[in-house]
Amino acid sequence: MTFVQKYLAWGAGALALIIALVFALPTGKARGFDVSGFGTLPILEGGRVKPLDSLARNSLLVIHSRQGFRHDNRVVGPDEWILDVLFRPQVADQQPIFVIDDPDVIGLIGAKQTKNRNYFSFADLSSHLEEIQKQATNAQPIPAQKRTRFQSAIVNLFDRVYLYYKLRNTLQLAGSPGLGWELQSLGSPDAPLRHQDLMQLAQFRMLPPPGGAGPDGWQNVGQALSASQAGAPLHPGLIPLAKLNAAYVANDAATFNQTLRDMNAVVSQLTPGALAHASNEVVFNRAQPFFVGLSIYFVAFLTLCISWIYKPDLLRPTAYALLFSGAIVHTLGLAARIILQGRPPVTNLYSSAIFVGWGAVILGLIIERMYRKGFGTAVAAAAGFASLIVAQNLGTEGDTMEMMRAVLDSNFWLATHVVTITIGYAGTFLAGSIAIAYALRKHIAAKPDAEAEKALVDMAYGIICFSLFFSFVGTVLGGIWADQSWGRFWGWDPKENGALLIVLWNAIILHTRLGGYVRDRGLMVMAIFGNIITALSWFGVNMLGVGLHSYGFMDKAFAALTLFCLSQLLLMGICYAPARFWTQRPPSKA
């Protein structure tokens, strides 16, 4: 590798990092309004203090499956969207954000599949709300996995419509003249009824508690109004909020931006630190490290593939440098989540996917340092890309930093058991990926390369040992946690069984190899099967009907999982087929 090539390679990596950095920069104002400043305001929702921006992104993700949309020939981002929903519902109601895929549901609301695909606005749905609610109420008592497709879809639509409905009635009652009017009419006889509605419908609490009271002290607008009605002094946040409302409705950007500063001052005075914490999270949201990371992994993988046919001396180090930058972005994202949440890296299925990908990438980097053949880079980039894709699909259910349910609320066990077992998953997947690379290579490579094959087998074998260690220790630690919190070490619970299957399978691989019953090829076939076992115990056991709530995941994931398993079986066949399968004609009987 010449000096120039080295420069170019690391230059590409640095460029990727710079692009990643650009993502984190604040976006400009929308129509002159400082919408991202408004998105930085802290709120309390789902039990934790977060920026409004997080709520906007997650709600839009739930309702629309994306974090932004095009309307009237321009892109509307989450912060602008939430402002419209909160302050100008009459505008937001016209935006076609509800995705409906189920033809029966589309038929129910009396619409045809329009050219604009199947996007509907709240206004489109508003005349059918009663019917949607009626159908959903009928379907709700049925357990999620027993619902028909229509029932799942209608319940899902109802949940999204209800979320939207709550959002538009959180800071003011939709259809009323606004928060300012609400403040003026404090004391009028029909006000308490409206306060009651506001309290019940509020999706989040926006008014911070004075002077270091706990998170319980946060109030929603309805609570604050109701307290004033009862004689308490007016919450200092209400007036700037009402002014923001009026300025936004009047399209007065200058006043809006000015009042936002007042609101920030009130918030920082009442709850110091909340604003800083929220703005850190906004930077994290904007940077989208896992999306950027998966893009970089993708480019790295492509670069490496090209390197096999074109300028290998330049492109292979470039791919490695790109993988390295991807890993940096990925690691930073992971670290940011740990810091923001104050928890070990794995707290739910979404974060486990991110961590599995991270583990696979780090292991791949190490392998590449040891063998320098490009296999480590290829496998790590592919595994990192795939697991981040899985994570992106798992993260569509709402807040990915949700609070931990009581029994999981133990940082010690989350840090030991969950992390170890997830490293075990990562290792097993990596071994499987290496085996896939081995299988494909065997058939594609022009001439057999014994040294390369040997290297791949060694890598896979070493990683299987590594995974057996981590999955075993992780499983036993899980048993000890279970003994601590439920009183039994082992209960044959589906999730425990899943972990046990991985341990058993890795043990079988090592023992068959040790006993000499399989050689290189057999070992690789078995390693690919490890992918199936791991996928089933990671996601499959959740589909037995334990601990899963969302229809979207169930259906889509089941198909995806089946497809994945079938593809792995196919790859096992490919791996088992002899290398000269294509050229050697099978002997004919005739």
Partner: protein
């Protein structure tokens, strides 16, 4: 004549030994265990966790597994036993050299782990204790098993309880209640039944006394899923001093007290979950169910319990909460559930004499793996050095 037979025994023993310590056996057994784990997991959807574990893991042969042509399949106990023997054989067979010290420790640790699961399977007793705030409870009760309690309630401050387990009722024999003149004649026993009001015109009930005559009882299939309960019921005829007190219907589904009086003693008949009385009592002083603000996501459950043990002259308060159970007199009490608008706390109670074994195993295996890795690392470093020098 004796010599060849002895040598045949010897070869047979040798053959058995070489099978027992073989890798093939390990692999076959591990594969069988994997199949069993898959079966057991899938079966839980229908049978409930306990049912599936008993059918697949705690049995020697699974006669009727639904997934593989209904062929008999070796059960978890058999596979586990063979695997343990295989492990022991292997452990003995591993050369006692320092090179193998790590692997030796690992396999000893695994033997201990298996032993722990065996002990748990054979001896672990799972019960629970539900207490309402302010209530004092001195017994734990079974999750599924029933008993028919004959309670002498004559003394207003002290109940004398005699209980007949459901397994005994199901045999249908006459049961003399020790310590009392009463003998119970079991007319019919239903492990699970459907109770409803007797419709006019329907055939009359077997029962002649208590609430029974107005109730129709229909046998129902036994359920084992975790969230279902059998409505165990029985028609019994108490006989004392040669006199019959009529036929009574006792059922879990009946809440109303039913009793008869014999020679100044009043006996209540109650079908209930099987109880085990304790030499100490718990009083629930406070139950907390905290949620994260603005949500219904539970943050913590905790029970503040006063433990009173007269034999130890002990009376103290204990806080039982998530991940923080109380280990007391061989039993462990865990916060498990709650009810009745947060005024009822349910503690699950586990008694497992082998609870320490997995911990021991964990230490042994981890140590073994570390030792093994150290040895391997040393070897490879040495090899690298040799290469450099050579």
């Amino acid at each position: 004549m004796t010599k060849p037979s002895a040598s045949r025994t010897k070869t047979l023993a040798f053959g058995a030994w070489s099978v027992l310590k073989s890798f093939q056996l390990t692999i076959v057994l591990l594969a069988l265990l994997m199949c069993l784990v898959v079966f057991c997991t899938l079966a839980q959807v229908e049978m409930g966790t306990q049912g599936a574990v008993n059918a697949y893991m705690r049995s020697f042969v699974v006669w009727n597994q639904p997934l593989l042509l209904r062929l008999p399949f070796p059960g978890g106990a058999l596979v586990g036993l063979l695997l343990t023997l295989n492990l022991i054989a292997k452990t003995i067979d591993i050369k006692l050299s320092w090179q193998k010290a790590g692997m030796w420790l690992v396999h000893v640790g695994l033997v201990v782990l298996f032993a722990g699961e065996f002990v748990a399977g054979m001896m672990q007793v799972d019960t629970n204790m539900s207490i309402e705030v302010g209530q004092t409870v001195n017994y734990v009760q079974s999750y599924k098993e029933m008993e028919l309690a004959v309670i002498d309630v004559t003394d207003p401050v002290w109940d004398e309880v005699y209980s007949v387990p459901d397994t005994m009722l199901s045999k249908g024999r006459d049961i003399a209640i020790p310590g009392t003149p009463v003998t119970l004649k079991v007319k019919r026993f239903f492990r699970n039944a459907q109770l409803s009001n007797l419709m006019p015109g329907a055939p009359p009930s077997v029962a002649t006394m208590g609430v029974g005559p107005g109730v129709s009882v229909v046998e129902a299939p036994v359920v084992s899923a975790d969230n279902e309960m059998n409505q165990t019921s029985a028609f019994v005829e108490p006989v004392a001093g040669g006199r019959s007190y009529g036929v009574w219907l006792a059922s879990v589904a009946i809440g109303a007290p039913q009793s008869f009086t014999h020679e100044g003693h009043t006996y209540a008949l109650v079908m209930r979950l099987r109880r085990q009385y304790l030499p100490y009592a718990f009083t629930l002083k406070q139950f907390r169910h905290d949620v994260y603000p603005g949500t219904d996501i539970p943050k913590n459950f905790s029970s503040l319990v006063q433990v009173v043990n007269p034999s130890q002259k002990e009376s103290r308060e204990v806080l039982i909460y998530m991940n923080q159970p109380l280990r007391y007199e061989g039993k462990t009490f865990y916060q498990a559930s709650f009810g009745k608008n947060d005024t009822l706390s349910v503690l699950s109670v586990v008694e497992n004499p082998g609870w320490l074994l997995p911990y021991v195993s964990c230490v042994l295996v981890s140590l073994g793996l570390l030792v093994h890795f150290a040895i391997v690392l040393r070897r490879s470093l040495k090899r690298r050095q040799d290469k450099k020098e050579g």
